[in-house]
Assembly symmetry: C2
Homo-oligomer: 408 residues x 2
């Protein structure tokens, strides 16, 4: 039984966190540190954008199977910064290693913020030094770290769960994430700019990597705010085994707990998309292949026309089918079913390839369903039994405002 609890990254045993103001940003917290008392098995997913930020390049090259600490800064993405950026990312690891008495390879690094500016390393080093001294356990520490990695985020993405494994061990999972714009991760585990830190005191072997990819594919990789995949997406799962249980790789309860946590984080990212007023969940069923199901979800949640129609509660459902047609997925025009859900209304739209509602007054029902904080679009492609779920948000005036003056 998975139990969602009030907690964060320091809820699992042996993890400490800190968040400080280093001065990279004008006022807010901008540097965070996560630490595990014992080296933790590390499972890392990185952006598949071919322009990879310096910290992503450095971590992919080292590909360390265990990590003891992760340093994260916001305000500067250290992306598109050439050779100097690489040196700065390495220096960040080195500075943490010095402060905490670790081998630099045991230190992970993540950055988020403006692309194309060199890091101010004086400030970053000062921040690392302070954060190292302030590492601690508890909700205050969770919050400081969560705040330090936020950029245009307006709500904190945090979730924790407790679950009893088959062998009787009680393990904890804690997760934080940031991400509001430039969100369309396709993260690949080697061993998603959203940055995520997930901690657990469960015991995991390197073989868990595959399951972690599958969980990312169904959660973080099914979120899209704007279809633009960041240069910095990184998602780190640290499992330090301090619960002293047996290997949880194949424990169905553990997988269920981790899926629940990652799905909640994914939904929160979509809900907090830049300028968003509504969460859009897209559920695709009846697909011939899993990939087809995912393609349809992504094409619908990435369509600016669908997103702005939902913003305005404009019952222009033809646009949803336009997106289905553009996805490249196989479907049967005669059997395809489309339902729009909002609040306690569930409105079927199509009958044998044409909309049921033709009159203005009937269309009002659809508008009422769309006029909710959470709108669900259900599409049955009618050609198979594969399915997928994904999350996005509406396209609003505020999205344009935020991104027309981001660097300013």
């Amino acid at each position: 039984m998975v139990e969602i609890i009030d907690g964060g990254v320091t809820t699992p045993q042996g993890f400490k966190a800190a968040g400080v103001h280093s001065g990279v940003k004008y006022r807010s917290l901008d540097l965070g540190l996560l630490y595990s008392e014992v080296p933790a098995s590390a499972f890392v997913g990185y952006t598949s954008n071919n322009v990879k930020a310096a910290p992503v390049q450095v971590m992919m090259r080292e590909n360390s199977p265990t990590l003891s600490a992760v340093v994260v800064n916001s305000g500067n993405a250290n992306a598109l910064t050439g050779r100097r950026g690489i040196e700065d990312a390495i220096s960040m690891k080195q500075a943490v290693a010095n402060e905490l008495g670790l081998d630099p390879i045991q230190v992970g690094v993540m950055s988020t913020g403006l692309i194309g500016r060199f890091m101010d390393m004086h400030k970053v080093r000062y921040g690392i030094s302070r954060a190292s001294k302030e590492l601690t356990v508890g909700r205050e520490a969770d919050n400081l770290l969560a705040e330090a990695i936020m950029t245009t985020d307006t709500i904190k993405k945090e979730c924790a769960a407790r679950v009893r494994l088959g062998d009787g061990t009680l393990v904890y999972i804690g997760a934080i994430s940031k991400g509001s714009g430039m969100i369309s991760p396709h993260m690949k585990v080697l061993h998603g700019t959203t940055l995520s830190l997930v901690t657990t005191d469960a015991n995991l072997s390197p073989a868990f990597r595959e399951k972690w990819q599958s969980i990312l594919d169904d959660s973080m990789n099914m979120v899209s705010v704007d279809g633009d995949q960041s240069t910095n997406d990184t998602c780190i799962l640290l499992a330090n085994g301090m619960s002293n249980g047996s290997c949880a790789d194949d424990d169905p309860e553990f997988e269920a707990a981790l899926r629940t946590v990652m799905t909640k984080i994914a939904r929160t990212i979509a809900m907090d998309g830049e300028g968003a007023t509504k969460l859009i969940e897209v559920q695709v069923t009846g697909a011939e292949t899993k990939e087809d199901a995912r393609k349809v979800v992504k094409t619908i949640i990435d369509s600016p026309l669908v997103k702005s129609a939902i913003f305005g509660s404009d019952p222009n459902y033809g646009r949803i089918m336009m997106a289905v047609g553009n996805s490249g997925a196989k479907f049967s025009m005669d059997d395809v079913r489309l339902i729009i859900k909002g609040g306690d209304m569930e409105v079927p739209i199509l009958d044998a390839g044409a909309p049921i509602f033709q009159e203005e007054r009937a269309v009002e029902v659809v508008r009422m369903a769309m006029d909710n904080k959470e709108v669900t679009v259900m599409v049955d492609l009618g050609v198979g039994s594969e399915e997928a779920v994904g999350w996005g948000c509406d396209l609003t005036y505020d999205y344009v405002r935020i991104n027309a003056e981001y660097a300013t």
Copy 2:
């Protein structure tokens, strides 16, 4: 020598046009008719969206090598209308055929407007009857037809050219187009919702089809307003041969003239993108393959982050490289070059993988370049010699407004 002249679809010999108010729309002209005195060789490009509007389905099935007339309505796309939609599209052809004494297969049909509503055939038939009687030649007729096919368009897309072929024949080309939103055509010629009608009195053989695809690929198919490909995109080229010249299939002057006309139309569509305040031209060079060059152009002009940054003249050029990285195209990070052009300013951005400008004051130069009605983004991928050019527009508050209340 290609000469751009003041003209439209009735400028080439033997073409007549009309545009009337049928009542499908509340007030504006909404039904247009184009007629050629002799059957014209027809070259048609259709949307590759798998949800195809009824008129597209009907025309693709008939695939007539020649057409004598084309009827176009706006206000209703006759898409997502099932079996009844097909019957309505066929009825439109039949009605024109009856009025003009033609075989229905000689009549093309195109629709644009709201998706998912049945046509009001009483009004459409009345419109066809009136338009048939009002067919005429001249700038007035050109204008009426152009107006009848507009939806959210704010400027008329029209262009005409005159060119002397190798055999001494003087031929004319006239083109009109509509399209402002749901614009990202990938039109395939069988024998791009933008709707376009292109007329010429040149003499073309069926073999010209391949060249027409290549011209569409470099013009209409390189325009994107929102990355959403319509269910209705159709682009019809009619060549009636009334110039009495020899076959112009391989005449380089004719191809140049047609390319010039189609490129001008494509740019105008981008410039008039829904809510647009700026035209964005993206020029990619140094690609390994033509397909890579096109992918980079499309990824940049479709990125909501790039588009909103350009709207705000926000010098966030890192986003352009983010898009390059997401395109999937091959490039060399050390050799890639990025230039932003606006007005008479041409600002190089990158040096060996990192931005030249790091200081706020220097960045101002980039802002000034971006603060123009036309912004050109030049990317050299540094790995080959293939290139592509495409056009898009900025993402603005008005795009959101228009599309949040389209059906309303």
